[in-house]
């Protein structure tokens, strides 16, 4: 169900915790699974549960509690823009509006071609870099002026 590379990464997560506390690796394992699959289907969650020797429901609870796990399909590129107050004071909302206009979608929508999903983010701990956004959860982009947004979207389309 998951590639050997992913399983190797999950094993490294498991090794971080005491041998009788494998469930501690569930967050890391879900992240790795999502990286490979794009989102977390129920089969994927069940596979992770089995791999860690946990009840599936316990892994579901984790997957649904934390915001960065996607329990439904998202576009190939998920863009999350921070609009919390410190960012909003420095163009966070302007940046989000600009992306909405360019992609023709609102928050929580995906473009018709399945390329982009837009999300409203909460504070990413990078407020001094406002506007900030995340691409697919892991790549942070800082000081996103309109020109830099144009450039980013063009690069991501390639």
């Amino acid at each position: 169900m998951l590639s050997p590379e992913s399983l190797k990464k999950i094993d490294r997560e498991i090794a971080k915790y005491p041998p009788d506390q494998k469930q501690s690796a569930s967050m890391g394992a879900l992240r790795i699974a999502q990286e490979e699959k794009g989102w977390l289907a129920s089969e994927t969650i069940e596979f992770v549960a089995e791999y860690l020797g946990m009840p599936a429901i316990a892994v579901y609870e984790v997957a649904s509690f934390y915001n960065m796990y996607d329990l439904a399909p998202v576009g190939a590129k998920k863009i999350s823009v921070c609009t919390n107050l410190p960012c909003a004071l420095s163009g966070g909302v302007h940046a989000a509006d600009y992306i909405k206009k360019k992609l023709g979608i609102d928050f929580n929508e995906t473009t018709a071609d399945g390329q982009f999903t837009l999300k409203e983010g909460e504070c990413m701990g990078a407020c001094g870099d406002a506007p900030v956004l995340l691409v697919n959860n892991h790549r942070m982009c800082s000081w996103m002026t309109e020109e830099k947004i144009d450039q980013l979207l063009a690069d991501l389309k390639k």
Partner: protein, 436 residues
Amino acid sequence: MTSQGIILSGLDGDRTWRLADYVKRGGYDALRKIIAEKIPADQIISEVKKSALRGRGGAGFPTGLKWSFMPRAFPGAKYIACNSDEGEPGTFKDRDILRYNPHSVIEGMVIAGYAMGCERGYNYIHGEIFETYERFEEALQEAREAGLLGNNILGSDFSFDLFAHHGYGAYICGEETALLESIEGKKGQPRFKPPFPASFGLYGKPTTINNTETFASIPYIIREGGDAFLALGKPNNGGTKLFSVSGHVNKPGNYEIPLGTPFSTLLEMAGGVRGGRKLKAVIPGGSSAPVLPASVMMDCTMDYDSISKGGSMLGSGAVIVMDETTCMVKALERLSYFYFEESCGQCTPCREGTGWLYRVVHRIENGLGRPDDLDLLNSVTANIMGRTICALGDAASMPVQSFVKHFGDEFAFHIEHKKCLVPKDVQHEGSKIYVA
């Protein structure tokens, strides 16, 4: 990044996060000294007490005192946890510490492990900063290879290992018991206290949790002495501190300055208010701290005691600056939405109350406010405060109370005239994408 302090100073090279670079800056000298001189654990804790270091995560609790709560004779596992789940809006200091000086945190945690007799630690890193998490993992690897982590550190009989745990998007995991639940691979829901983590923490074992910046301050305290650290700040407020300055300033960023520095000096360092506009309000300690009007803030110095006398909290040291183009109702609306979204839902007053607060502020902002809405807001906050498992309930209430208290006329104007006191286009212009 500007430093007159100890954590972000000397970081002008281009690979400051590497072990070799840290060692050149005096890194791991403190740990070597402890091992070489076999300094007793008690002595380390009393040095930390002497330094008057107060927790940098928000509550400002004296670190040395916290360390002394750990049961010394307890047999079996004990843990150290570092709180790098920086998600308090306005706070972005721990990310810079981990990006540019990760070994200071590692060294601080190893020393903490030694002082409290723990063999294992975890650093819980905020979900949104994956690249920083990866860099910290690399630093851990370097430290292991150099014999600074793992079995028999530096050839002594002291062993300590340290791992990074990556969060995945939940503000509440910054609360220390939610953080422990999350490391245990569960939903991040805060625990009832007591028992406190020092007796029942990670996997039910005694655990001490400190903030990233708190741990990063430890090597200096051991190397130079608690008195030297204390002297950098002011009595009861030892050391220098990182302030994350955001919002309407010309140079947002991290500033590491002595505790007790006047706010006006910090504002000047951050380039002053954008476009020469007038300062209106400041949240001095992260979004959960009460907002203060400009006049009060300009008389404060940046330390725990002065900010608390001014009516707010130094909190995490996140200074959110708002100028005259800010609509205070809109600002509060965004914060209230955040707490509503992030409540873990365990306690009814918090789950229901944060929803109420958001909906009422939202309707005021959108011209649908009712004459008794301000009283309603105050009564909802009164029903949340002190009645919840964790401090998120209070954190959601204090902004509401303080915004209404200091800027009540702006709220009243909204309710009466069904529009903002500050015209929309002025707000828009004031908060647009800003390039220094």
